[in-house]
């Protein structure tokens, strides 16, 4: 069953943060219990779960990441079959340690040096990737930033890299490496 939650009049960010945190805390507790039970009884672990958060810096900024459920998930929940899909337009607002824990990153154009450095935290071949990045920036022009959902099909450069990407570099719309 899929659940759609209507916020109605409660449209400000406070409601979103509060509800997201309450739900995620419950999910965390459930998954931890189920995984421990499965370990103890040699049963099947719970179904893998991906929690997606928008405006991730609100949940994962350095000030709060060490104390909140999202920081805990980012750091240690892989063992409980839960992972985070983090979406943000200002990655520099996300805690450095959390950024280094993110396995795969897909990024569109960024024109802020701090954001670029933040996305490349803990990545090997950082300088090479940065030069690929800058060439994408030059090719597409500043009017495509921040592009992801609105960019045209032809000029929609992005790069992907991380633990689960065998060939880091520019990618096309389907996410495959550009030839």
């Amino acid at each position: 069953m899929n659940v759609v939650l209507e916020f109605g009049r409660y449209t400000d960010i406070t409601a979103y943060i509060l509800v997201a945190n309450l739900l995620t805390r419950r999910i965390y507790n459930q998954y931890r219990e189920r995984t421990e039970k499965a370990l103890g009884e040699n049963g099947a672990p719970p179904r893998p779960l991906v929690i997606t958060i928008e405006e991730a810096h609100k949940f994962l900024n350095p000030e709060v990441a060490a104390q909140t459920i999202f920081g805990i998930i980012a750091r240690e929940m892989r063992k409980y079959n839960v992972t985070l899909l983090v979406i943000d337009q200002r990655p520099s607002g996300i805690d450095e340690e959390v950024m280094s824990q993110i396995g795969t990153k897909i990024t569109c154009l960024l024109d802020n040096e701090k954001d670029i450095d933040s996305v490349l935290t803990g990545v090997s071949g950082k300088n090479e990737l940065k030069s690929v990045w800058l060439s994408l920036n030059l090719a597409a022009g500043p009017h495509f930033w921040p592009c992801c959902s609105h960019a045209s099909s032809r000029q929609d450069p992005r790069i992907r890299f991380g633990r689960f990407v065998s060939r880091p570099g520019a990618a096309n719309r389907s996410g495959k490496p550009e030839s």
């Binding site: 069953m1 899929n2 659940v3 759609v4 939650l5 209507e6 916020f7 109605g8 009049r9 409660y10 400000d12 960010i13 406070t14 409601a15 943060i17 509060l18 509800v19 945190n21 309450l22 805390r25 609100k58 949940f59 000030e63 709060v64 104390q67 909140t68 459920i69």
Partner: protein, 139 residues
Amino acid sequence: MEGRNEKGHNVKALKQLFPDKVAVFTLDEESSRRRKVSTDYVVRLGYDEIEPEDVVLLRQTLNLTEAAVEATYQLARRFGDRKWIQTILNLEDSDASRELLEKMNIHEATYRNLRRDLKPSAACLSCPPPPPIIRLSAS
């Protein structure tokens, strides 16, 4: 309920496309009713669901001081995770309350900051008790 895409065309809602696979929950029953959205459940969030960790995340948006956030942990330890908000919102403006805050090393200004921002309508210390708890109930 149908929505509109960026080009202004009508787009069916997930519930219309997959009626058996989608449940609609609402935090605002009245708004859903006005928009003629048929909902399956109403969600009510009560004070007993809110933990100090939630307040940490909301510090910037609620404009709370660091001391106020620290105080939430002390209050939760003292009154319990499920009762701390309700307790501080119900504290009367009395010498006994001030003494209690003093014992917990919580400055009165910090307490007022916390109280004001957790319940904007509670500007005074003698407010009526808060509404009942978050419950998940079928609409």
